[in-house]
Amino acid sequence: MDAITFTVLSVLMVASAIRVVLNRSPVYSALSLVMLMSLLAVYFLYLDAHMVGVLQIIVYAGAVMVLFLFVIMLLNLQDSIQDYRQEKLWTMGILCATLFGELWFFFGRAGGESSAQHAVPEGFGTVISLSQKLFTDYLLPFEITSLLLLVAVVGAVVLAKR
């Protein structure tokens, strides 16, 4: 990925992330989040991870955010100006900054070596290479994740039946 693409994408992503937090209208906030997810997918595509990029669009931009939008419209949420308290935003901002600082402290400095350019191996990011990894090296986490999702589905059904 060259510097120009990276800069443009990153600026757009940060801008849409800020829009998610600062928008007064819930629909616009959700749409900014959709934009953020799609830009993340573009990142993956640029990094040759085609499968992950497309899955990002299907799962987050396509499924999760559509449900968000659906609920926002169904409840007909109005622009909630009075709910916005400045101090709430400040607390959240400080928390996020602390978290980010910790992440940088632990991982950021170690990244000097790994950020060097590696050659992309043959077949990287294809369906076959990804699924081979998923069903051999990472089989247990993969199955546990699917179990977790199943629990969530069953939980939702139980709650809905009440």
Binding site: V27, L31, V34, H50, M51, V54, L55, I57, I58, A61, G62, A63, V66, L67, L69, F70, M73, L74, N76, T126, V127
Partner: protein
């Protein structure tokens, strides 16, 4: 060399988008005529441009009259509407629909000047997933149109559309998994190639003979995804006026109509590629027609390519026509029937299909 590759890509992309848009415009006319024939009417048979042209140009005239009329009408944004989203919604709706067909191959390799060109605009390893991604993005335009109009009917239409499309996407995706399991790839060109040759010497080796259930599920879910009758509850005119595009006029409404046609072209293109051999012509391979009893007619490669592209177009056109026939034959579902069909019939059937296909693949692998 790089520049020529880029030029080829641009030409292919423009070709596919142009083909899809032209077919969409043509379908508008076909739909009007077909519905008229089905209902024993004559249908649109005359149009005079500017009221001055004395001669009736027949097809050409009615073909261009509708789009010209729609695009020159006043574009009205209701006062209470969200202006930005109201304008953005048709664009958000049409872009995914336009670029979905890019991964669908419309022919085999063509050789120009020693350079082999795949007749497919974007050769993606994740082709089928890309289609699912674009289909899932298609919901946004509809939902935004419904919400931004600030109209109860439009909002109801938008909500219905999103609930319906989310429900049928699942059955659609699972039907596609059946096809992916059969061919072991998500690349649509590979899937089309795998359907060459003959089955038992009499039938073309098409996906429908391996995945008949998936075909039925995919066709049903596809019609539901394109929101056309009998699944047109989002725009049910007796209840919701026109549903999500009630507040649209002029060019923007034309774009929503175009999206409907584009979606049925996408469904037709995918059915063709996955279940009816894509660009494959029975008995035809790269060198010419091969008879199963030996012998054959050698053909120049250009003729073969033209025949393949023609076969693909013909099949797509047939399935578009089939969808139009279904639209004008079946009455609209009730909303509970729609949900029961999606969740209690199509979803279990699709899961069963995946299970059976996986077992069959396992058994055939172990027999080898």
């Amino acid at each position: 060399m790089d520049r020529i590759d880029l030029l080829i890509d641009v030409v292919l992309v423009l070709m596919v988008i142009g083909m899809v848009m032209n077919l969409g415009g043509l379908l508008l006319w076909v739909e009007r005529k077909a519905s008229a024939i089905l209902q024993d009417r004559i249908g649109a048979n005359r149009a005079s441009i500017l009221g001055k042209l004395p001669i009736n140009l027949g097809i050409v005239n009615t073909l261009v009259a509708d789009p010209i009329k729609l695009f020159t009408k006043e574009d009205f944004i209701p006062p209470g509407a969200d202006k930005l989203l109201h304008t953005l919604a048709p664009i958000v709706a049409v872009v995914p629909a336009l670029i979905t067909m890019l991964v669908v191959p419309f022919g085999d390799i063509i050789v120009i000047g020693g350079r082999e060109i795949e007749l497919q605009a974007a050769r993606l390893d994740v082709g089928i997933l890309y289609i699912l991604a674009m289909v899932s993005l298609g919901v946004y335009g509809i939902v935004l149109a419904g919400w931004s109009s600030n109209n109860r009917w439009a909002l109801l239409g938008g909500i219905r559309a999103s609930a319906q499309m989310i429900s049928y996407e699942i059955a659609m995706g699972l039907a596609l998994i059946g096809a992916v399991l059969t061919y072991g790839t998500m690349d649509l060109q590979e899937i089309a190639r795998a359907q060459s040759g003959m089955l038992f010497g009499v039938l073309p080796n098409w996906g429908i003979f391996y995945q008949p259930l998936a075909f039925l599920i995919f066709l049903t879910a596809g019609i539901a995804e394109s929101k056309r009758a009998p699944f047109d509850l989002p725009e049910a005119e007796p209840e919701l006026i026109s549903g999500y595009f009630t507040e649209y006029s002029g060019a923007k409404q034309a774009v929503f109509m175009l999206v409907d046609f584009l979606e049925s072209i996408i469904v037709a293109g995918l059915i063709t590629t996955l279940f009816f051999g894509g660009w494959q012509v029975p008995l035809l391979d790269r060198t010419g027609i091969q008879f199963p009893w030996g012998g054959g007619i050698p053909l120049p490669s250009l003729v073969v390519t033209l025949m393949q592209v023609g076969a693909f177009t013909g099949k797509v056109f047939f399935f578009c026509w089939l969808q139009i026939m279904i639209r004008w034959t079946l009455p609209r579902f009730r909303y509970d029937q729609l949900m029961i069909l999606g969740w209690k019939i199509l979803l279990p059937a699709a899961l069963l299909n995946v299970l059976i296909t996986a077992l069959a693949v396992l058994i055939s692998e172990s027999l080898k």
